[in-house]
Amino acid sequence: MTSGKHAALIAAVAIVVAIVAWFAPAGLRVAAVLGAAVLVWRLTSRHGVSAAQDQAKVAPGVPAADVKGLADDLMAATEAECQGGEDELKRTLDLIHNASGTLLNNFNTVYQHVQSQRETALQVATTLGGSGGETDGSLHFSEFILDTSKTLDSFVDSTVSTSKIAMGLVETMETINDQVSSVQEILGEIEAISKQTNLLALNAAIEAARAGEAGRGFAVVADEVRNLSMRTNHFSNVIRSHMNQVYNSMNEAHDAILSVASMDMNFALQSKSRLQDTMARLNRMNREMGEAVLRIDELAGMVRDEVNSAAQALQFQDLTCQLIGQVGLHLETLRQIISSLDLAVHDTDNIASGLPAARQRIQETARTASERTSPVKQEDMQSGDIELF
């Protein structure tokens, strides 16, 4: 082998190592650069060739098999690394895909549950609050409070008013009693008149008997007057008996009405006050519930905003997967570059012309790779521009 071929081989191996170093992870990169430096130093010192002496010939004595072996090892190691990198990128893609799908589902489910919760709360509020104005016949809570309040109010009012009327009735009854008593006094007068009339009739009968035949007609009149007196007395007694019954009945009614009138009205007034308290509390509860429902509605809106924001952030999956695809392309380019070199090194008979050709291929590959633009330029997860044409 000529020294020119050796120089070309050394340069080629150094390029391979440098390329591996360029794409290797940070840790490996240092080791690879050091390796390249050691390799160049060993080959140049052994054969007396300086790296700077581009045109110098490599000293004879380096077996071509060593150089080919080294190139093969490099190729195999690079291939293994590229393959390992691609496998791991694929696993990364799968993991990101699975996790983002699950997260998105979770967020959507949370959103749907919060929406159902909100709808349930609104439904409860509509039913109880009566704000919906439905005509489905269902009783709304606020209407119920109003109805009950009105009914109980009028009940208490009528109880109080009954008591007042009863007190008025007691007075009226007492007036009637007085009048019944005065009727009885008048009946006494009538009885006295009847007695006196009876007495007068008796005297007239005596005077008629004494007048004999001339007084016979008068005796008949005296008899009739006496009859009238007795009938008057009889009617007076009947009236007195009826009046007594009226008097007794009135007394009983008076007592009953008095007991109604003298019932303690405080219980009704206290009930009214308690009822007003209860109704005020129910109204307050109703209002607080309305406020709680509004708050639930507001929170549902906030959850929706957060879920939207999460949905936006979760699109990192699409962006990172495309970037990982780009990393895959870089690995493929690296593989092509190494492969170009490997081909040239194996053709030892034509290496002098093969290396420049390999160099050209590598430059071509590198140029094509540099023209490739990444589809992802985003640097954060802010929402992108929208343009309507």
Binding site: S100, G101, N108, A311, Q317, K377, G384, I386
Partner: protein, 121 residues
């Protein structure tokens, strides 16, 4: 009847997000995994709006738009690009192909909804 939106994207999570956003607003959503699938589904059922990604296997978004525009059914149907691509050159190519608008990912679900409402009501 609900308007039908066809979402074409090779990323399942983007399809899922678009579907969730639009379905919750009452739209019907049909999904396709790449340009070819999108074309077949668009032919199968007339969509009121097509939302497509650019970089997809088999057929990219711009090719899909060009092909759809040759169909009488899709001559004036709104077609929006939803992609990570944001270069002016790409946008011009999309516009020339017949895209109605260009949305750069990631998208804000609310904004997507506003645009869809604006375009198809």
């Amino acid at each position: 009847m609900a308007k039908l939106v066809l979402t074409v994207d090779d990323s399942a999570s983007i399809r899922q997000m678009v579907a969730f956003t639009l379905k919750s607003a009452g739209y019907e959503v049909m999904e396709a995994v790449d340009g070819e699938d999108g074309l077949a589904k668009a032919k199968g059922r007339g969509a009121d709006l097509v939302l497509t990604d650019q970089n997809m296997p088999k057929m990219d978004g711009i090719t899909l738009i060009k092909t759809l525009r040759t169909l009488p059914q899709y001559k004036s149907t709104p077609i929006l690009m939803l992609t990570t691509e944001s270069s002016d050159a790409m946008k011009s190519a999309g516009r020339a192909a017949g895209a109605t608008g260009w949305l750069v990912k990631p998208f804000d679900p609310q904004k997507l909804l506003e645009v869809v409402k604006k375009v198809i009501g």
